[in-house]
Symmetry: C2
Subunit: 400 residues, 2 copies
């Protein structure tokens, strides 16, 4: 029997486009690795036979060299609110964080601090620490409440004339706190700093309008809500006004002005391609294209509406089923401040997660004591949420 | 009718394992982008359905997190002559060059020069220039003959007590000059320098024995003779003796000692994994595994023997068919000093290349005036070489 909420969900039919949607598995980790689309297997086979196997090296001239920028433009249009020419695909989020942080601090000479919060994703913190050390800067840490994130007040207290760069996550990886990006960007700019947004946990589920917000720099991954597959390449955004002045340290031939001139010295390409270094990972860019088309078809506004409805339903079920067992909501209750996942804490959640995996219910565990439920809007049903939440209760009951 | 040389080629049957081998296309660019194996399409479909789609996020724990090191070990055993624990897969050649160069110069404090040759591949030269600039070092250039490469004499003249690092290509991308890697490594070491070998144009076609040669560092790509697909991830080798002391600047979570602890600060993993940064590109690692299995089955010695026979045949046909038209061999005539490709020069070769592409003969063009023929041993037949060389003569005749 169809769940009452699925029956009225205008996006319900999209679920059938994903591999495994028909199985009894409850998948609460689409915010970590999105499901493949059913279109993927055939697309990859076609690619191998026709494009790689058929065109061979000619594929680079005909299509692949421009693909990172072409997909970047699509991504900009469909989910990032970025005009063409500012987004490219490649490397990993970590490598792109490094490139953009190095570019940013070089563009703010004399300023000595990078501001970020202690709950930012580990790789962001580790890269920032490395960049700070090699460039002679210091990190200025913002302490945040684990169930929330960086507020305008916290950021205003942290930035000043010493701030070169502010590095923030749009959606916090544990709490799902949805930062007030335009306001935080304004505060960083008022202090004369650049701002670098990590969109890993928002791109594809929360509307982002980078141009409108006046963002300087952004990175994100494509294997979460953009379903690009395990380890698919990341994206970066550099606002057009910064492109002529910002350069990055990994000077590779494919970021140079004319790669096939193979000249004696490096000069960066004039546009966003200067943030590329090596040969673009074409195979890894195939899956995200189908997902982008799906998000475009559904509309990012409708995707966000379903995301809010799914997480609100999980919060409601948490109140009803889990709170009596001592489980605490560790995500914002206000949907306007919440991204696409919901975290519940309890001292036994590590064990609960293990027990659930045994039963084909797949959430994630994040210290301290957090059961994290990622509800990817186009591939998750309300029935799945309800069944999963009941099984969480059962697993917890079995352990107490 | 079977070509007389194909009839006696013990590796002839391998050609049927590649997509498109049955078509009339003459493919002389397997040293730039190897053909896909026919096994690839089905392998990718299976991966999407069963591994990515079926295991989802659990795939990381079950298999993917270790995959870069597992394939690295296979690569070490089958084609690099490297014991386990010293090779990993990830990023692009360019990004790995950056990481290893930064690691190397930090390990030789007080030394002020990076030595490399003017004919090294552009990305190697560009990365080295960037690393030198940011670390306050200078580049010391070796001038080489375009039809040859770095000899022991040239290197001995260039290195000294100021040399921190020597960066060399094992096979030169234009001339196919095959460097005397053990001797050049010894010369660099005698000067107290580290040596970084770029194996892009040799790995998979020329036997490499990194451990035996005492090499410190190496990188290479997997889309040429390892048939990993367009933009498949690169590999790096760091000798075990250096692993405890060498660190790289892109401090990402997946190179940290315990990624899922997500602790407050970065500490590098003890082994080769410290050279990883972001999430490993799993989809891009699938194709190279089948090719590695094929090379293992054939044996790298037999692969090299066929490679020498193919390039010698091309040289012989060049003497017969092209030399009378003023074409000059720009690769070593001695097969012991020649890698897996052959370059012929003539002032019209750019136009010849364009004309050949029109007729489904696909070589590469490299300035100045070089027609480069890459003869990937397991997918190229002698009949293909003969037909291709005759068509080169025709194309040239049509232009003069």
């Amino acid at each position: 029997m169809t769940h009452r909420l699925d029956a009225t969900d205008p996006l319900a039919a999209y679920r059938d486009r994903f591999v495994g949607a028909e199985t009894p598995l409850v998948y609460f980790d689409g915010n970590s690795l999105g499901r493949p689309l059913t279109a993927m297997g055939p697309r990859l086979s076609r690619f191998v036979e026709e494009e790689w196997g058929g065109r061979l090296i000619r594929g680079w001239d005909e299509r692949w060299l421009e693909l990172p920028q072409r997909i970047g433009d699509d991504l900009g249009r469909v989910v990032l609110g970025a005009a063409a020419g500012q987004v490219t695909i490649g490397d990993s989020t970590t490598v792109l964080l490094y490139k953009l942080m190095r570019a940013a601090v070089a563009a703010r000479p004399g300023r000595t601090e990078i501001v970020l919060d202690r709950d930012n994703f580990p790789t962001d913190r580790y890269v920032a620490a490395g960049v700070a050390e090699e460039c002679g800067l210091t990190l200025r840490w913002i302490d945040v409440d684990l169930t929330a994130g960086v507020t305008p007040e916290l950021l205003a207290d942290a930035v000043g004339e010493r701030t070169a760069l502010v590095v923030l996550s749009h959606v916090a990886y544990r709490s799902a706190w949805l930062a007030d990006a335009p306001e935080l960007t304004r505060i960083a700019h008022d202090a004369g700093a650049l701002v670098l947004w990590d969109l890993c946990h928002s791109a594809g589920s929360v509307p982002v309008t980078l141009d409108e917000w006046g963002v300087d720099l952004a990175v994100g991954c494509t294997y979460k809500y953009l379903n690009g597959g395990p380890g698919s390449p990341a994206f970066c955004y550099v606002a057009e006004r910064h492109l002529p002045e910002l350069t990055q340290p990994i000077q590779g031939w494919l970021g140079s002005v004319d790669p096939f001139l193979m000249g004696p010295s490096y000069a960066p390409a004039p546009g966003i391609r200067r943030f590329q270094s090596g040969t673009p990972p074409i195979l890894g860019m195939l899956a995200m294209q189908d997902m982008l088309a799906l998000v475009k078809e559904a509309g990012i506004g409708a995707v966000r509406a379903k995301s809010v409805a799914l997480t609100s339903y999980a919060v409601e079920l948490g109140d009803e089923l889990l709170a009596p067992a001592g489980v605490v909501l560790a995500s914002p209750r206000d949907p306007a401040r919440r991204g696409g996942h919901v975290t519940f804490t309890h001292p036994l959640m590590r064990e609960v997660t293990a027990a659930l995996w045994e039963r084909d219910v797949v959430p994630d565990y994040r210290d301290p004591g957090g059961l994290r439920l990622g509800l990817s809007p186009l591939s998750t049903s309300y029935a799945e949420v309800e069944r999963g939440m009941r099984l969480v209760r059962e697993a917890l009951a079995g352990l107490t």
